[in-house]
């Protein structure tokens, strides 16, 4: 359902570069990150810990504290407005009905002393102010029950009267999602929302999100470390490493033919066979220390196909025949 053309752009991140200023010095967390999310599209952002995916999400919705965060350059354009140039109060108008976010830890994201209905009412209040709605108490209650129903929660009235600790992980996660979607955002940022949930609860939540996307056209940015989860739900994928987008493209294309050696290694590292399968071709080493990144391509010390050029110069973006954008010298046309 992804439309092409400039008109369909909902969010455009352009060359976003961001540092964290810490006691140990400055650390570059995002380097020239560009991303487009079209209306009604689900975009997956995958990467291992420290790749900058959560920072990117928080940066888009303007929740990074400064200090330590320091935006060096780039722009985040949402419906034609550069969010980075807006002041605090102007920006808050975009949150909620514009951009919503669901955080990883539902237990920490929900206020422990509020019942579900009180929490949801907070979100409805935001919507009411933004759209000057006139809602009676009864209509509000109906709206809450409806939204929990849509998320296929059993006994919505019962859930509304419960505190977060009385709900299961899957239920809590859906309450957090309810809080975000009750504001009818145009873009929903989901940060590791299925991490730590059992497989079929995870599957249910993915189904619910996909269904929501089809019914309401809410665009989604789905952040996860789990490549399989991301590929199940997203139309397009962004693969991040050391604060850079290493590969970007249509999910099916990346699944069938990952172009960047890092993406290839990520897929290969997922166990698929039975116990008699050969050892997993894992990339050597661990996620890089952002304070001591190598010169040239940031993946070069772990890359099996490394060339001299990779160690000297950081590759620019190359486009594959299928239209994926890849940060790798192997795709340079000679």
């Amino acid at each position: 359902m992804a439309e092409t053309g400039a008109k369909a752009d909902l969010l455009k991140v352009n060359d976003l570069t961001l540092d964290y200023a810490t006691v140990d010095g400055r650390v570059r967390v995002l380097q020239n990150v560009s991303m487009t999310i079209n209306k009604g599209e689900i975009v997956g952002v995958v990467g291992e810990s420290g790749s900058g995916k959560t920072t990117l999400g928080l940066g888009i919705i303007g929740l990074l504290d400064s200090p330590p965060a320091d935006i060096i350059g780039g722009s985040v354009t949402f419906e034609g407005k550069d969010l980075l140039k807006l002041g605090r109060s102007e920006l808050s108008q975009f949150r909620g009905p514009g951009i919503g976010m669901v955080f990883q830890e539902s237990l920490a994201a929900l206020n422990p002393v509020y019942r579900t209905d009180t929490q949801l009412k907070e979100s409805i209040e935001v919507l009411r102010r933004a759209q000057n709605l006139d809602l009676s108490d009864g209509a509000e209650q109906e709206m809450m029950v409806q939204i929990l129903n849509d998320l296929r929660l059993d006994r919505p009235e019962w859930v509304l009267k419960k505190y977060p600790h009385e709900l299961s992980g899957g239920m809590r996660q859906r309450v957090s999602i309810a809080m975000a979607i009750v504001e009818r955002p145009k873009l929903l940022i989901l940060d590791e929302v299925t991490t730590g949930l059992d497989v079929y609860v995870q599957n249910r939540i993915l189904n619910i999100l996909k269904d929501l996307n089809r019914r309401t056209g809410t665009a989604m940015m789905f952040i996860t470390h789990d490549l399989l989860v991301a590929s199940q739900i997203s139309d397009r994928l962004y693969v991040m490493y050391a604060g850079r987008v290493m590969e970007e493209g249509n999910t099916d294309n990346i699944l069938n033919a990952p172009a960047h050696p890092y993406t290839q290694k990520l897929f290969a590292a997922i166990p698929q066979g039975f116990v008699d399968s050969p050892p997993l071709p894992a990339p050597k080493g661990e996620a890089p220390d952002l304070r001591k990144l190598p010169t040239g391509c940031k993946f070069n010390p772990r890359c099996p196909l490394v060339m001299q050029k990779c160690k000297d110069i950081e590759p620019p973006v190359f486009e594959t025949i299928q239209g994926s954008k890849v940060l790798c010298w192997l795709l340079e046309k000679t």
Binding site: G170, L228, L280, A282
Partner: protein, 323 residues
């Protein structure tokens, strides 16, 4: 193949009062968090235990290393039944079975260097001569794939993967028959997980170890284990060779679990209809009957394990030949 560990009708209970678990208090009722579980771990084999959060996987792991006393049932190690009241028996258990915990941060003492952490395993076992400690520690560090330089490091200076290797080194520094691995890679990135899984497999072959492997990741489970048990609310619902249980699941819960596993070749979401009551257990009869799609009258009784041939067992009345 002989059995390293035989677990028969294991039941572990926590004390509860007013519906709340009381881990450290006496009095009140008992809740069976592991209920009548039986399985064997054969020599050189990896036995995998899968189940959702709160199903009691870790409690079984704790019982296997004597951190939790069974209320009833027995654990036999190399044919010897362990009397959990006898200190000598628990020591015997721990000499033969080591453990790697899930949380690499919480399970390593932050104030000790890596070599001291590993040495604690040796001190506790009392089977090595003190003069051999350093040599043994170096050997084992090499085995698990840690750099020699990390011996002097503190846990905070290590990455997640390295921390789990330290835990593993501590578990095998005294030669053991079996290692209990409680979600050893669930906190690691996929690329690091792959490295650790490779090391685990190499070690197992090299030292002729058996593993008791716990994970909720079915892809990892498939890749690691020879046999597989499926746990649900403290009950073992199905057990068999991993291949049989994954490709031909028999219990309705296992079927549902397996159909939801994402794979590289099957990336389409499985549609599930209806309302989501994802959790629920029944106090009487089959634990799964409250949400089982194939429930019938008989399920109000407690199903025994039905033998489906070739060591494949399922606790489900669908396989009751008498009906």
């Amino acid at each position: 193949m002989s059995n390293i560990v035989e677990v028969n009708n294991l039941t572990v209970s926590f004390v509860v009062r007013g519906g709340n678990l009381l881990l450290f208090e006496r009095g009140g009722g008992m809740a069976d968090v592991v209920n009548d579980v039986s399985f064997n771990v054969r020599e050189g084999e990896t036995f995998g235990l899968a189940g959702e959060t709160g199903s009691g996987k870790s409690v079984i792991a704790w019982a296997l290393v004597g951190l939790m006393k069974p209320r009833s049932g027995s654990i036999k190690v190399l044919g010897k039944e362990i009397d959990f009241g006898k200190k000598a028996d628990v020591t015997y258990l721990r000499h033969n079975i080591g453990i790697v915990f899930q949380d690499p941060v919480g399970s390593l003492n932050p104030r000790l260097q890596v070599k001291e952490i590993i040495k604690e395993g040796l001190i506790a076992a009392k089977t090595f001569d003190r003069r051999e400690y350093d040599k043994r520690i170096e050997e084992v560090v090499d085995l698990v794939g840690l750099r020699k330089s990390s011996l002097e490091a503190y846990p905070r200076e290590l990455s997640g993967g390295e921390k789990q290797r330290v835990s593993l080194a501590r578990a095998i520094v005294v030669p053991r028959k079996m290692v209990v691995l409680d979600e050893p890679t669930s906190s690691l990135d996929v690329s690091v997980q792959a490295q650790v899984l490779n090391t685990l497999k190499e070690l197992k072959a090299k030292l002729n170890l058996s593993y008791f492997f716990i994970t909720h990741d079915i892809n990892v489970m498939k890749y690691m284990s020879d046999s597989l048990g499926i746990l649900y609310y403290g009950k073992l619902l199905e057990v068999g060779s991993t291949y049989d249980v994954v490709t031909n699941p028999k219990h309705p819960f296992t079927m549902r679990l397996m159909s939801n596993v994402p794979g590289l070749k099957r990336t389409r979401l499985q549609q599930e209809e209806g309302r989501l009551t994802e959790q629920g257990s029944s106090a009487t009869g089959c634990v799964y009957r409250k949400i089982c799609p194939r429930v019938f009258e008989k399920c109000s009784n407690l199903p025994p394990m039905f033998d489906l041939g070739s060591n494949h067992l399922a606790a489900c009345f669908l396989y009751d030949k008498a009906s």
